[in-house]
Symmetry: C2
Subunit: 457 residues, 2 copies
């Protein structure tokens, strides 16, 4: 894999992350016996994490009424002010990781630079510019007895973030949570601990200067894996946990959490080339999906081709993919139609490569394609290329994924491309938020009723 | 407690339920080691439950495109046709429970009658009349590159229901899930097993007559507690679990689930009587909240009174409460102001009595009331009686509950009173649905994009 290819890898769920988490978490499923002993909002847990979560909960009160945009601007200034200290800490993180023999690709992800910090501050400015998601009256109506109701957006309270290497996520995530009126408790990668400490210190300085409680942003300053468990089981203290990273991390959080979770990011995305497809369009969409940025969750991992067009399309497609450095695996038919296709194993169909690899299958019908997608899709993004209105409609209606594309690339599943602005993650679950989860989805709601003595008959 | 009082008890989370579940579940937290061994959508579990969930998932496909209202009408007819068999089975359930020495109150909840079955069928007709929650285009827009997006409501897929005694919930819940285009897997109380078997058989007959898959409604035909665990840990097969019942059942589900959950029902609801309150209004709202139907989750459990009005209000209020058969517990001040108030223990402040009991506290300020509510509220419904706009606004803004009332009874937190129609439960969590969860909240959404070859630059 070339350096260019490595740099093309991106945020949402790199294979590098998967390896990092899995390699370092032999006892991922072990839940300490002290966790989750819950009695009416109280949690028995080691004092440090417990008190940190309590102070985050306390800081969350009234945050919705504070000027959060001013605070974000102070945070941006503080990050500039602390830049030297942040970069120094980051050098230590990178040096420690290098000693462990960490790959150059991972070291690059871990590294901060003045340019990267500038991008972080630009991201803050973009979030400042977004409309306030709080206090929106979603609906209002009047009961026949005169009682008037409003459904109003309100903050979650405390949001826990569990994420991996890249220290810029520390700021990106915190800023979105603050804008949404919630406190945030961050549990980043141990490899970025020194950087994260200074980043959080700077953000806390910014909060204080704006008159907001510094405890609204907190770092779980521990490399102990049990701290993740403490965070994700703290019922009554944490309102929502969002894991961001590889499949291993996400599975760990979803399996062990006792607080609500938004499951993010795993994308085993398919492109189905229908018998009526414009094959040139299909080739463009295929290459865009697989090659442009293979390390992200909305990239293509599988290609399904109708048998009627396979003899024409596959030789062209496989040639183009291989020229772009992609390893092509395939079923018997795919191997038959195109030279250079290596045999796919059964496990290939469920694997999110996040790499320059694709698996190809020839199908007899749209129904067979839908059945395959139904079996192996991770519910992220799926695409069809077709000229048939019937095929397009059936694909849209029957595919159970966050985003379904007709004649377009799966790469568009992204908060900015959708026009939502920065996203905290891409949800692959069906509860609350599905697809890109931006500011608008980072809030809850409340019913408010005003009357003049109404009682129920 | 009189029989009338007992009959006034109702659905959402009766203390009778709590006792039933807790008494019968000594190992509520023990998770069988076979559960949750998850590898990409597959679950290792005893064949019976696993295959039942798989068939429910299969049945869910295409349900959105079927005529679900016709199916509900067939279900209603089948329930009438099977009435004699349902009532016979119910007699067996009631007799078995009576042998165990179950209380008359619980036996009443368990009992079906032609009149109760008629009410169930009326409920079905109401659900038929509600608008279809599926296929609603929530938003639509166009990317600058011409790609057109729609955000469309779609079904969850498979919804698991875990609930207690009352067999009418079996039909009420199934009908809502079907209308929302999801399969439903029911795990009711073992005490209602005979009744539930026939009710589900009748519903399956109705589904078949309408040309829908019978597996769209299924009963976990087991009194083994591990079947609950299997249901709530079946990642990849179950999209949502909704527990309905007492605090013990709900806590068990929330603590052990590995699939998304909507936490429902526990209501430790407060009424705060401000210094500026209309005291006659406050008395009416207090009595309505506590006495009208104390067994439901939106009933009042706590009274907070500003010290300036306590000497006038409390003697009247305590007298009226006691005359209505309510036991009044209170702090030192409450005992001082009104005769007949017995001392409250610290545990009273966090207890949902669901009974003719209330605890009273005198507070010095609105802030103290807010602090108390913040500490002890279960996030269900909270009310203030005040003439002060400032107090009203502060209460609305600072109380973190699903529903906040100014000068009205907490008893209005109900799907029908809100105008939503039948509810599957009242959510006390902040993710996805908060407060009464009706048909509109029983769906997910999906993004659909149509283009003409758009790729990402």
């Amino acid at each position: 894999m070339s350096l260019i290819q490595t740099l093309l890898r991106a945020s949402c769920s790199s294979v590098l992350n998967v390896n990092w988490w899995d390699a370092n978490l032999p006892n991922a499923r072990a839940v300490p016996s002290h966790a989750g002993i819950y009695t009416w909002g109280m949690l028995t847990a080691p004092a440090s994490t417990h008190s940190l979560l309590e102070s985050a909960k306390k800081a969350a009160r009234g945050l919705a009424q504070k000027n959060r945009n001013v605070a974000l601007e102070h945070i941006s200034h503080a990050l500039l002010e602390f830049e030297a200290e942040i970069l120094e800490a980051n050098v230590v993180d990178v040096a420690l990781e290098r000693q462990k023999g960490t790959s150059d690709a991972l070291l690059d992800r871990l590294s901060l630079s003045p340019k990267r910090l500038e991008a972080v501050r630009e991201g803050i400015a973009q979030v400042v510019a977004l409309p306030d998601p709080l206090g929106r009256v979603l609906e209002g109506w009047r009961h026949e007895n005169g009682l008037s109701f409003e459904k109003v957006t309100v903050p979650f309270g405390v949001i826990g973030m569990v994420y991996e290497s890249r220290p810029n996520v520390t700021v990106d995530a915190a800023v979105l949570c603050l804008k949404a009126g919630s406190s945030v408790v961050l549990r980043g990668s141990s490899s970025a601990l020194q950087s994260n400490r200074v980043l959080v210190k700077a953000m806390q300085v910014g909060l204080e200067r704006a008159g907001l409680p510094r405890d609204a942003v907190q770092l779980i300053d521990s490399t102990d894996r049990s701290s993740v468990t403490e965070l994700i089981t703290a019922r009554g203290l944490v309102d929502l946990v969002i894991p961001r990273g590889g499949a291993g991390l996400i599975a760990h959080v979803v399996e062990n959490a006792k607080v609500p979770v938004i499951e993010t990011g795993v994308g085993n995305c398919h492109l189905y080339v229908d018998s009526s497809a414009d094959l040139e369009m299909a080739l463009n969409i295929l290459l865009n999906g697989k090659v442009q940025r293979p390390g992200v969750c909305n990239s293509l991992e599988k290609l399904l081709v109708h048998y009627e067009v396979a003899p024409i399309f596959l030789p062209l497609a496989v040639k183009a993919l291989r020229e772009a450095g992609v390893e092509v695996r395939g079923d018997d038919d795919a191997q038959l139609y195109a030279p250079g296709v290596v045999p796919a194993l059964e496990s290939d169909w469920s694997t999110e490569y996040l790499d320059f690899i694709i698996a190809v299958k020839v199908v007899k019908t749209l129904s067979e394609a839908l059945e395959h997608i139904h079996t192996f899709s991770s519910g992220h993004s799926e695409a069809i290329v077709t000229r048939s209105l019937e095929s397009a409609t059936r694909f849209e209606t029957e595919v159970d994924a966050a985003a379904v594309y007709v004649n377009a690339s799966t790469r568009f599943t992204d908060g900015f491309e959708f026009g939502f602005g920065a996203e905290i993650g891409i949800s692959t679950q069906k509860l609350h938020a599905r697809g890109p989860m931006g500011l608008r989805e980072m809030v809850s709601y409340q019913f408010r009723a005003r009357g003049n003595g109404q009682i129920r008959g």
